[in-house]
């Protein structure tokens, strides 16, 4: 089970993930991100605070999306990862190529600078 809550403020979209990002739920997130990118979203923060688990199918979605963001100029920041989720990003080398922040405030601030 994955729930994706979305809030928008001007150019900024914040996604809050709740539950598990696994092989079953990853396609839902992929779909939602594609829609947002298509809608011309300029800045995006993804809040992982309530995400309990991520598997490689979830990493795959973020890597593909980060590549797309780089190309189309969307600014992306991730935040509030639980230790096991952060560990998965770390082991995969994703902490080096994605902007990850401890708090939502820091993530949003990074998108403004």
């Amino acid at each position: 089970m994955l729930t994706i809550d979305e809030s928008r403020e001007a150019e900024l979209t914040v996604l809050q993930l709740t539950g598990r990002l696994d092989a079953v739920t990853a396609p839902e997130l992929e779909q939602r991100l594609a829609t947002l990118a298509g809608d011309g979203c300029g800045k995006m923060a993804v809040d992982f605070g309530k995400l309990e688990m991520i598997v490689s199918a979830g990493l795959r979605v973020f890597l593909a999306f980060a590549k797309k963001c780089r190309k189309s100029g969307i600014r992306l920041a991730l935040c509030r990862m639980q230790p096991v989720v952060y560990e998965v990003f770390k082991i995969s080398g994703f902490t080096e190529i994605l902007a990850i922040f401890p708090t939502r405030e820091e993530a949003v601030r990074s998108l403004d600078s």
Binding site: V55, R60, S92
Partner: protein, 137 residues
């Protein structure tokens, strides 16, 4: 040793997961280890569904057992073509974003999360044993 065998399909993930986490909890494992065990389980099951059986139907089997030294172990079996995940080259986790290939991280995560991994081919089955140490208190 407790064993559950189900059709190798994504719909079976949730039942395998419950089976394993209940056994892990019973075994008195530190609950902080559970997400790691779930991750390893899901990566391997997903590979069985996606790669071992590709388009065809098949079965996946998961066994749980304690090792004498107190480790909690999983054994995952499939009847797909021989495939030793331990022989897979590690992905380049240091490449910059533009050069990173999408995918290929599942086995890498499994290797990093497990304390002990062993592969063997037997009777037409791929048998992967994964053990987790109980953290010292």
């Amino acid at each position: 040793m407790e064993i559950l065998r189900l059709p190798a399909e994504l719909e079976s993930l949730e039942r395998f997961r419950k089976f394993v986490t209940e056994r892990a909890a019973e075994s008195g494992l530190d609950s902080r280890l559970i997400p790691k065990i779930e991750l390893v389980l899901e990566e391997i099951l997903t590979n069985q569904v996606m790669h071992a059986y590709k388009e065809r139907e098949g079965e996946a089997e998961v066994a749980c057992f304690p090792r004498r030294d107190g480790c909690f172990c999983l054994q995952l079996r499939d009847w797909g073509p021989e495939f030793d995940p331990l022989k897979q080259a590690a992905p380049d986790t240091a490449a910059p974003l533009e050069e990173r290939r999408v995918g290929g991280l599942g086995i890498h995560l499994v290797k990093n999360m497990a304390d002990h991994l062993e592969y063997r081919r037997e009777d037409g089955k791929n048998i992967l044993t994964v053990c987790f140490k109980k953290p010292a208190v």
